[in-house]
Amino acid sequence: MLKILNTNHSQLTTHMFEEVATTTEGDLVINVGPQHPSTHGVLHLLITLSGETIKNVEPHLGYIHRSIEKMCESLSYRQFIYVTSRMDYLSSHINNHGCALCVEKGLQIEITPRARVIRVLMDELTRLASHQLWWGAMAMDVGALTPFFHAFREREAINDIMEETCGARLTMNYIVPGGVMFDLHPNFQNRVKEFIRFFKTKIDEYDDLVTGNIIFQSRMKRVGYLSKEDAISYGCTGPTARASGVSCDIRKLYPYEVYGNLKFDEIIETGGDCFSRYLVRMQEMRQSLSIIEQLIDNIPDGEFQTKTKAVLKLPKGEFYSRVETARGEFGVYIISEGGTTPYRIKFRSPGFSNLSALNHMAKGHKIGDLVAIMGTLDLVIPDIDR
């Protein structure tokens, strides 16, 4: 059975692993997904078990592949940004941001200071919302159902702020080449300040509710170890790699917009296990809060969008830009032939590389650990499949 499944489409994924699955007599091969409560989407894992112990995990992708990269080739430089909101739907602002940066690089336009600050504010709010959802979903994966509702209460506040300014709650399409689509809503500053005050008390509550729990810690510590070398060789980025001691925050290493002028820390843990990944994300929420605090009273006046031509044409050449999403490094690679549409687009999504380390991390652990590891990887399946 495994051999048949190993042939066609899964060849794409099997080459990433050092060894191909071998089943022996008495092993149990189980399909986790494509419909499963803890894969958070249509991820299909073929796991080989010996009793409860995992011998091999083989992710099968493609259940939500919408050929976004191919679609972008027939869309203009203004249009293709709308599609990217649908990739990693939990950080749609940041996806839009990466694409807008790449197009602006090609057009060589400078955006206004106001637009820069608005973009960073939106990015950080998105990161907070994404981490909140992750926190709730991950707690649910290890069996605690209540945190999910608490996380959603706070995420709802961010969604309301977004709704006022962008007109959307999930796929914002707010950041466009040349700036942002609309100016901020007059209530924006007050509501964000209110949210910061509210969330500062709640994030301590998060720690009280989950972080210190002895069962939670025993489920997280020494589980899913990923060494620094492995994190680099699997191409892991974002909190997943930073928990293994790899410094890879694009906001620090290659600052874009106003990140260079801001005071914030790159969170690096050296444990490499699930608990380190958890701690990195929890501390990142506090860093995002401090970034928002620094900017919210210092939004410069001026235009929110620079004047651009009605039809954008990138000069012939190759352009690459990268941003730090909630899950890691998101890269946009555009090849232009000089026309109104890109010749080829490639997105480097963080989820795909992070998922590739799953087999390495889960081997030898129990089924419950696999679910915990997947929770701390913070996978968003449309981001992996695109």
Binding site: L28, E52, M140, G143, L145, H150, I215, K366, I367, G368
Partner: protein, 358 residues
């Protein structure tokens, strides 16, 4: 003290005077059976609603609030929905065992109900080995769960059943040991004797710290035995979708569900009987005035109050704790709970022999 004893006695007397003694006995069987089944249905409805309301309260939401006043008829509506659903039997399943399993689990839950004293003089069967009977019969339910897991022909179900088997067999030890420690203090296996021995104080107060340790171990062990979070590995939604009852639908699923809640009620009732004096009111030493006021509260209220307090405790666990992993679960039992309860039993035995308890 109000008591239902008068009512049950008078019914018994009336039946015996009107009918032949054998027929009267048969009629009593029938009445008792009907009562037990009604109690089952009512318990299921009340406990499911209670669980949903408790979880809603903990999760900052309202819970069911549309069907009936305050959502009180929600579980009735759910039951009607479940009875109308098709009871699927999957292809390749062992049809006989698959369909038998829910009834085994439910029947066991019903049997354990027999020796429990709901109020003064309101007990189905005051057998002289009551506690032994309870621990013996309740361990049969694992057979039903294994049957369900094996017969479903589903790997998730099989894993869930295997986990459940390992879990229930292990945790029965410490549950049994903490029950035995209370039996040592009482000197009797009969439920009515155990309750009577707590006339002037419940064992949890009279038995010093060892009794409290026994109670804590008992609560942990029964939470595991009833497959409740944080020990809900047999169902483990995020890992095994629904564990051993993945393939069950309609009324067959409802029977498992019902059995789970009735089991919770039963273990809490046993806990209340052993540690909190069953229907015995709260009596404090020589405070005659206080004791007198307490006596005016009906014994059934005392029993249900204690039981529902313990049920709330178990529900509280479920909605706050993450789930343990299977090896951590077994470690907890074999490396911590089992040795502690062994030592605790020793302490209690010494205490009982020397008469150190109040």
């Amino acid at each position: 003290m109000f008591s239902l004893e008068g009512i049950t006695k008078s019914i018994d007397r009336w039946l015996n005077s009107t009918f032949h003694p054998t027929l009267a006995l048969l009629l009593e069987f029938l009445i008792v059976g009907l009562c037990a089944i009604t109690l089952f249905a009512v318990l299921g409805l009340v406990l499911v609603l209670m669980e949903r309301k408790v979880s809603a309260y903990m999760q900052i939401r309202r819970g069911p609030n549309r069907v009936g006043p305050g959502g009180s008829l929600q579980t009735v509506a759910d039951t009607i929905k479940l009875t109308m659903k098709e009871g699927l039997t999957p292809d390749g399943a062992d049809k006989f065992l698959f369909n038998l399993a829910p009834f085994v689990v439910l029947t066991v839950a019903m049997l354990v109900l027999a020796p429990i004293a709901f109020a003064k003089g309101f007990q189905l069967w005051d057998i002289n080995i009551g506690v032994l009977y309870i621990s013996a019969v309740s361990s049969v339910s694992i057979i039903g769960i294994l049957m369900a897991g094996w017969a479903s022909n589903n790997k998730y179900s099989l894993l869930g059943a295997m986990r459940s088997g390992a879990q229930i067999v292990s945790y029965e030890l410490s549950a049994g040991l903490s029950i035995i420690s209370m039996v040592v203090l009482t000197g009797s296996l009969q439920i009515s004797d155990i309750i009577a021995s707590q006339q002037n104080g419940w064992w949890i107060f009279k038995g010093h710290i060892p009794a409290i340790i026994a109670f804590v171990i008992f609560i942990i062990a029964v939470t595991a035995e009833t497959n409740r979070a944080p020990f809900d590995l047999a169902e483990a939604e995020s890992e095994l979708t629904a564990g051993f009852h993945t393939e069950y639908s309609g009324m067959k699923f409802a029977l498992f569900f019902l059995a789970e809640y009735v089991n919770i009620f039963i273990v809490c009732a046993i806990g209340a009987t052993l540690f909190f004096g069953g229907w015995m009111p709260l009596h404090i030493g020589n405070w005659t005035g206080f004791n007198h006021i307490m006596d005016y509260i009906p014994s059934s209220i005392w029993f249900l109050g204690k039981t529902f307090f313990l049920i709330f405790l178990i529900m509280w666990f479920r909605w706050t704790f993450p789930r343990l992993r299977i090896d951590q679960l077994l470690n907890l039992e074999w490396k911590y709970l089992f040795p502690i309860s062994m030592f605790n039993l020793l302490l209690i035995t010494v205490m009982a022999i020397m008469g150190w308890h109040f």
